[in-house]
Symmetry: C2
Subunit: 301 residues, 2 copies
């Protein structure tokens, strides 16, 4: 579909795109740039892409599709480095979890003759780095794209088809709405997961080993999320701060309600709180967003 | 090992004990009492126990081991009903997640000629009821027992061996310490999971369908815990309120710290927060408490 695809940043997400493109034979050439020698060394050793570049300008200059898959805080520098070297009518996209700030950056840079269409594949694991990537990562997962209002149809259609060809279901949504919804479904849950793990492991150091030992009672679920890439998450929290702060305030208010019900020994209220969340999982399973198997179907290794 | 075992309350946990005892042939007779006709009807139909009783006194009168596996709020009534009908030197145990209140109840009732030894098998799923039980539930899971200080060794040894024979690893711990540790590893995480699901599904009703649709970004992990039995959890929160309230206060304090770092756009502090929790999952996996497979190894059904 594309003659030449460039992937900038080849960690968990970038290397999974790379593997999917290779596996499905979706490009004649696939170029990779990553500033880490460890990453490029790994890619060369594994022999999973046509070209590994050490000069980002060389990497992108013949590409029809350029995908930025780095933490959000690197975008500005990357876009400034490549802006004069992009092919006319190339599609520039990304994989970031927040859209507001990057759209501001692009606006200020004033890109010419290039179609900028942000993407967010909602996929991943708690792992990081190119070793952890795999080609099926995007299968049956949503990818949200947020084209600027003035963008013409053809590049949007081509980008949609690209994500679909690696298995994604694509949804077009405004950047503003994307940032709001993701603050609820992803960013706030991550904030809370980090916060509970941090609370529990710090409370009393002498209990730490026992907390680990008996974590199967519930805590272990949270530690999965809290093991995610800290650099990526720092950037997300800076870029989507407004929505996340609103979410934290709502959460804190509900927590005080729960606290009051416990202090008051109000059994009816507690039952009502715990019962109100029971149905949502069924809806999530019905929507194909999780397994119906108890305990996520996990078995011991 | 035991001639006659009684299980009072045959939901997820009780029916799993029942199935494990049957499968491993650990008792000559196994009796069940449950106040729900739906449950007893199911047990008779499935033919998985020797005797289903409608009179709790008849159920326990010949038993050497009696296991209460009901929500905590039923304990008092159950123990009052059976106390005059227990066999001399029988072992009375339970499966409850909090120990403080039940020990108070037992103390006030003044049981005679019976060995009361509380148990807590740390096992379960988000499902409820006897259909959801399975015999392997306790394999490689911890079971904490909290014998009273004056209890003699033999019944402790026998109860230990019972849990071990259905696959558990047994740890002896004071009731007070048990309630503290479980408040951190299980009760606080449940409070937080309920709270985030309640926050997110209520924030804006018009977004609810989209929140469900994109829940794979993190939220779905929390909905598993928040789908657990609300009646059981209400009782846990009433009985372990002191420890849980302390946990909520610590959590709320840490959350304000996180909120401040976001408001201040303090990237270093955010990175430090997100990085501090990264190692704990490795320790949990090393302790055999979770799978090392990404995303809990879940695959779509």
């Amino acid at each position: 579909m594309f003659n030449n695809i460039s992937i900038i940043g080849c960690g968990l997400i970038g290397s999974s795109i790379l593997r999917a493109v290779q596996k499905k034979n979706l490009a004649k050439e696939i170029n990779v740039f990553d500033h880490s020698k460890e990453v490029t060394g790994f890619l060369k050793k594994e022999n999973i892409c046509s070209n590994v570049f050490s000069d980002i300008r060389e990497c992108v200059k013949n590409s029809d599709l350029i995908i930025i898959a780095t933490p959000l805080s690197s975008y500005k520098e990357i876009i400034l480095s490549i802006k004069e070297h992009l092919k006319k009518n190339a599609i520039l996209t990304d994989t970031g979890s927040v859209k507001k700030e990057v759209i501001k950056i692009i606006h200020n840079i004033n890109l010419k003759d290039v179609f900028w269409i942000p993407s967010h594949p909602i996929a991943g694991t708690e792992e990081s780095g190119p070793k952890a990537g795999y080609p099926e990562m995007f299968e049956d997962r949503w990818c949200i794209i947020s084209p600027p209002e003035n963008c013409i149809e053809e590049p949007i259609k081509n980008l949609k088809e690209f994500w679909q060809s690696i298995g994604s279901k694509v949804k077009v949504m405004s950047a503003e709405k994307h940032d709001k919804i993701l603050s609820l479904t992803s960013h706030l849950p991550h904030a809370i997961a980090y916060n509970i793990v941090r609370t529990v492991i710090n409370v009393e150091d002498k209990l730490k080993q026992e907390v680990i030992q008996y974590s199967a009672g519930g805590l272990r679920d949270f530690t999965r999320i809290a093991a995610s890439n800290p650099l990526m998450w720092k950037d997300i929290f800076l870029d989507n701060s407004e929505n996340i702060l609103k979410g934290i305030d709502d959460f804190a208010e509900k927590l005080q309600e729960l606290k009051k019900a416990i202090s008051d020994k109000n059994g009816d209220k507690l039952f009502q709180i715990f019962n109100s969340t029971k149905e949502i999982r069924k809806e999530i399973i019905k929507a194909g967003q999780d397994t119906s198997k108890p305990n996520f179907g996990r078995k011991k290794d």
